[in-house]
Symmetry: C2
Subunit: 342 residues, 2 copies
DNA sequence: CTGTTAGCGCCTTCAG
DNA sequence: CTGAAGGCGCTAACAG
């Protein structure tokens, strides 16, 4: 990379001091109009670009926000990131994205990357393994704003953005009950994740409300590895008394289940109904369409980023750990109600 | 954000100079073992994090590579980015991602962000609008390595990573011909995109090879806006002499077509066969499964990043503008051959 | 082995 | 209005 144009180059060519150039460039009021023009013109001509590295160092803030997500496989996180990116760039922030590959160590490493890059704030969604939160506490200790979203924990006192997982699961399960289903299974996520627990709770409470028993053998919690999901679905279908409906923790799982059920020649939804969670791309593609709990994915990214920027722009002492709970919506499609195609 | 621990803090507490601290931290050989230990221990205790902003400034390199992609809607680019991220982080680079939202202006703005952040190199895939390449030429002019991938152009002399679009399209079309189709339509991308042109060429050449006429009314080029795709598919189906097969520029388009065709009650593949391009998530979900040209998506990201790192680590004068062409694979599913389910 | 001295490019007082 | 000087945190010669 060759020498990049700096304010000194401009200053020299114009025979003025670099301070003046700096002032002209940053729009400082007290610069003579002619000088400003001259600087701006020359800068354009040389296609000068401000060196953010230097600006960041001297202002000791990077105008960068970090985002740590557990995976990039489902469409969920990319969409959240899109939303985050929109809000961030409106405020002149750039975004540094790290992906933890669902492992705790990678998450810790990513946290260090964020710190090393002096991000002004960070958005994180936990891996399914994360049980220790020391690496996150570090942010708070250093007074770096942190906002958790989607995969959150309550061991650490920061703002969070989530959807109402409990209510979503409740609605999903109740919908199955009202559709006449009697034995509703639940393919749950790992108990380490708060959202798994909330969704499980919603499922159980819906059963209770309608006087249904909670049957342990119909509740399977697994690690979200789709390959593994196949095994559990097969197991459920092979039960002496198999379920007549399945509520899955997320859409990839539900879609996998749907395909297996179809491959077995069982009729959906009559013999086996399926409901997912998220409304991923794909849910409307399968046949029958997958009934699911839609989340405002992009909005999650937008809200979380807004919350983060709010913190960045206020005194650490005034930070409040609000939890923003966004609404979900039950999307009924053919996997739970006969006759609906898409 | 409160004061972060610096090497000066460590130096003062240990009563040594900051250079020594720096040397101990960076693993410089000539530091007494006791000193090194003391520094490392204290650093750990204070949880000191190197300030990349400062390191970058003084080394005048950011150890960051930029990635500019046109969109985040299909699963293609997120997966490419995953691959890029893997290779980059193996070499200690972080990744700055910008998304151009398929608009030229955003792409130019993103290029400026990259420049301002003094990325050490940049990976770009063009928007469908981009016809002027001045903003990219700027990178080369400043001797900042640039690698184009997927949506490339040949107006600018840099390394490129692509799949064999021509051959992929050829295989797709020939497959339809060999399946007995007579009137094969092509929903093409905008001619501004090189990949649209190559895929169109492959389609035409396959027809020619087998002695089929090229029927203009069966070739529609459009802007990749899926909403618009619906209109064109409908148009094709309503033709006095409708096609009996469709080769679409990408999977989202093909999937949309598939759904419309099914909704009309036409049988797939008998009355109308469909082939896509990419093997997006979703292609194996629909019924019948979508026959498509699979690309090594993640590999594209890995190879492009490797090429970029190679350039970063060599003299600008020795850069060669290789074009790496990765192989595609025809995945035959039920949308083109009777009897295959997934 | 370790301290001193200069920058890296920019912004920000403090004086004119 | 503008110039000079200092500092952001760290690395890299250059002396000892």
């Amino acid at each position: 990379m060759k020498h990049q144009v700096t304010i000194i180059d401009i200053a020299r060519q114009l025979n003025i001091s670099k301070s003046t150039v700096s002032r002209a460039l940053t729009g400082h009021p007290r610069v003579k109009e002619v000088t400003r023009r001259a600087v701006l013109d020359l800068a354009g001509e040389l296609d000068y670009q401000r060196n953010m590295l230097a600006i960041n160092l001297s202002s000791s803030q990077s105008r960068t926000i970090g985002i740590i997500v557990p995976e990039f496989v489902t469409s969920f996180f990319p969409i959240v990131i899109m939303g985050a990116q929109e809000v961030a760039s409106e405020s002149g922030y750039t975004v540094l994205i790290c992906q933890s590959n669902e492992t705790y160590e990678a998450e810790v490493a990513n946290a260090r990357v964020m710190l090393a890059n002096r991000v002004d704030g960070v958005l994180v969604s936990l891996t399914r393994e994360t049980k220790n939160f020391e690496h996150l506490a570090m942010f708070t200790r250093k007074a770096i704003p942190l906002v958790l979203f989607n995969r959150v924990c309550y061991d650490i006192d920061v703002p969070k953005v989530v959807v109402d997982d409990y209510e979503g699961a409740f609605k999903a399960t109740e919908h199955l009950i009202l559709s006449g289903k009697q034995r509703i299974a639940h393919l749950a996520g790992p108990p380490s994740l708060y959202i798994s627990r909330k969704r499980l709770e919603g499922y159980k409470d819906a059963l209770r409300k309608h006087g249904f028993p909670i049957i342990d053998e119909l509740i399977i919690s697994y690690d979200l590895n789709v390959e593994r999901a196949k095994i559990y679905v097969t197991y459920l279908l092979d039960l002496p008394q198999p379920p007549d409906a399945l509520f899955a923790i997320n859409d990839p799982t539900a879609l996998e289940a749907l395909l297996i059920i179809k491959a077995r020649g069982l009729s959906i939804p009559d013999e086996m109904a399926v409901v997912g969670f998220s409304n991923d791309y794909g849910s409307s593609l399968v046949e029958p369409g997958l009934t699911t709990i839609a989340q405002p994915t992009r909005e999650i990214g937008r809200v979380a980023t807004q919350l983060l920027l709010d913190q960045i722009n206020t005194e650490a002492s005034t930070w409040k750990s609000v939890t923003r709970v966004l609404k979900t919506e039950l999307l009924i499609r053919g996997s739970s109600v006969q006759g609906l195609t898409r």
